[in-house]
């Protein structure tokens, strides 16, 4: 990928809860269309980090810039895929996928076009008219991912979206995520505690330290796709990252 100007620029982001410093001057940049994974030891404040980045929580200090402007959910398209299911049970699958765009007041016609396109990509078309409690857990997470991509996000945050699914499904959905990301060229920040998952999806991995959280290391992953878990280069990067966050 050619060198581009940074799309997301996080500068000395700090979050304190009273005396407790959770995020300690975190700085990094993400280029447009880049997929960056964030890994860190358990309890390193990953969720706080995402909540601060998404502006759900005010930061104590520091800046988050999107295209050089202060990030604002009302102005920028920020999407957040939560670990827990976040489908609206009273909406059909299709209307759930369209929800983000509806909030953003995307015109009806365009909304429907984009919804159809993305549901086609992730194979949700066949259950467009069903309600969330009529589809499986993996479908629920796909709905959330589709909804997030559908708003054409400036920044897409994913908080261990596949953490609660079994291994087989996870592999499947990771491939699907790759497919979506390559097609739609979104800028993605993928948080996970699963190192293998991080190496599999990311172009670059940011390793966080234990609290107070800082960026401990930055590891580029220049492996060709599709990646193989058995490729020696893959295993080498996985080992390297594991060494960095091992706490035992």
């Amino acid at each position: 990928m050619p060198e581009q100007q940074a799309k997301i620029c996080v500068h000395k982001l700090t979050k304190r809860f009273g005396e407790l410093t959770v995020l300690d001057e975190i700085s990094f940049e993400i280029r447009a269309g880049e997929l960056v994974a964030i890994v860190g030891p358990t309890g390193c404040g990953k969720t706080t980090f995402l909540n601060t980045l998404s502006k759900l929580m005010p930061a104590t200090a520091g800046q988050i810039l999107i295209d050089g402007e202060e990030a604002d959910p009302k102005k920028h398209n920020i999407s957040y895929v939560f670990q827990e299911p976040t489908c609206l049970p009273w909406r059909t699958v299709r209307d759930n996928v369209a929800y983000g765009m509806e909030v953003k007041r995307v015109p009806y016609r365009e909304r429907m076009e984009r919804t159809d396109k993305i549901m086609e990509l992730v194979g949700l078309s066949s259950c467009a008219g069903l309600y969330p409690n009529q589809v499986s857990a993996s479908m629920i997470q796909r709905i959330a991912v589709s909804r997030a991509f559908a708003v054409e996000p400036d920044l897409l945050l994913m908080d261990e979206p596949y953490g609660q699914l079994d291994v087989k499904l996870r592999y499947y959905l990771e491939d699907e995520l790759m497919h979506l990301w390559e097609k739609l060229q979104s800028t993605v920040l993928f948080v996970t505690h699963n190192i293998e998952e991080a190496v599999y999806v990311a172009q670059r991995i940011l390793v966080l330290s234990a609290k107070p959280t800082k960026v401990k290391a930055e590891i580029p992953v220049n492996l060709p796709r599709p990646r193989s878990f058995l490729d020696p280069a893959f295993m080498e990067i996985r080992r390297e990252v594991t060494e960095l966050i091992r706490w035992w």
Partner: protein, 265 residues
């Protein structure tokens, strides 16, 4: 796409006749208790006598001044107007209290103060304000019904899953969008619960409301029976209140199931 299949489960015969059996046995014991003199007939009328009075009252306005249908119609009118008004005011108020801090701050203290006052305690003031017509009775029934409406709607909004709200916030949704698009739909099952509870509150306070000078109504029928020392009239009034209340409850239950089925599968 058909995702669900209707499953028919047969109830065994004994279980189906059990409810009828219990009612029949209850009536029989009651009848016998009065007939054998265990309970003096000046204190309680046997069901057979109540039934013959019921047949009588379908056409006879004496001795309380109106046929049964007129009494029932009056009560129904009062109860339904009061009920309707309590839904109309209570549900929006409760929903707004659940989401908008300002509304909660303004309305909650007043509501908490009014809530423990039994609706019939309002009777004297009601007479001052509205006189003794329909409006006063409706007011008391309204006060009775509004409490569960407010509470259920309030709790329903409060129980909205916080992640859903966070999700909407990250898409940049404003307070109004979150309230209408998330909180209200997810509160609906609780709100529907209120329909049933409020109806029960309204109907049980009907007799209380009709203690206000009235000349028709089921509550009035009961009061008159007492005044005339006619236990059969009292019991007929009570049974009418009970039966029509149960029928109303059943109707609301059906409506509720219909509406809920359309909203949440």
């Amino acid at each position: 796409m058909q995702a669900y299949k209707e499953v028919v489960v047969k109830t065994p015969l004994p279980l189906r006749i059990l409810p009828y059996l219990s009612v029949a046995v209850f009536l029989l014991i009651w009848e016998l208790a009065v007939r054998t003199g265990m309970i003096p007939s000046v204190l309680l009328a046997p069901p057979s006598q109540v039934f013959s009075l019921f047949i009588d009252k379908l056409t006879q306005p004496n001795p309380d001044g109106a046929v049964l249908a007129v009494h029932a119609w009056t009560s129904l009118q009062e109860a339904l107007i009061g009920y309707g008004l309590s839904l109309l005011v209570g549900i929006p108020l409760g929903l707004a209290m659940g989401w908008f801090r300002v509304v909660e701050g303004l309305a909650r203290p007043i509501f908490e103060l009014i809530r423990p006052i039994p609706p019939i305690a309002w009777i004297p003031l009601t007479v001052f304000w509205f006189g003794i017509g329909l409006a006063g009775k409706v007011f008391i029934i309204w006060i009775a019904g509004i409490v569960p409406c407010v509470i259920n709607s309030y709790v329903g909004v409060r129980m909205t899953q916080p992640t859903l709200i966070q999700m909407a916030r990250t898409y940049g949704a404003n307070d109004w969008q979150i309230f209408c698009g998330l909180c209200v739909p997810s509160a609906l099952p609780m709100v529907f619960g209120a329909l049933q509870i409020a109806l029960a509150y309204c109907w049980t306070n009907l007799v209380g409301a009709e203690l206000l000078a009235a000349n028709t109504g089921l509550g009035y029928l009961i009061t008159m029976g007492g005044r005339l020392a006619r236990p059969d009239i009292v019991v007929l009034g009570m049974v009418s209140v009970g039966v029509s209340g149960a029928v109303l409850g059943f109707i609301i239950d059906c409506i509720e199931k219909r509406l809920l089925a359309g909203i949440r599968r």
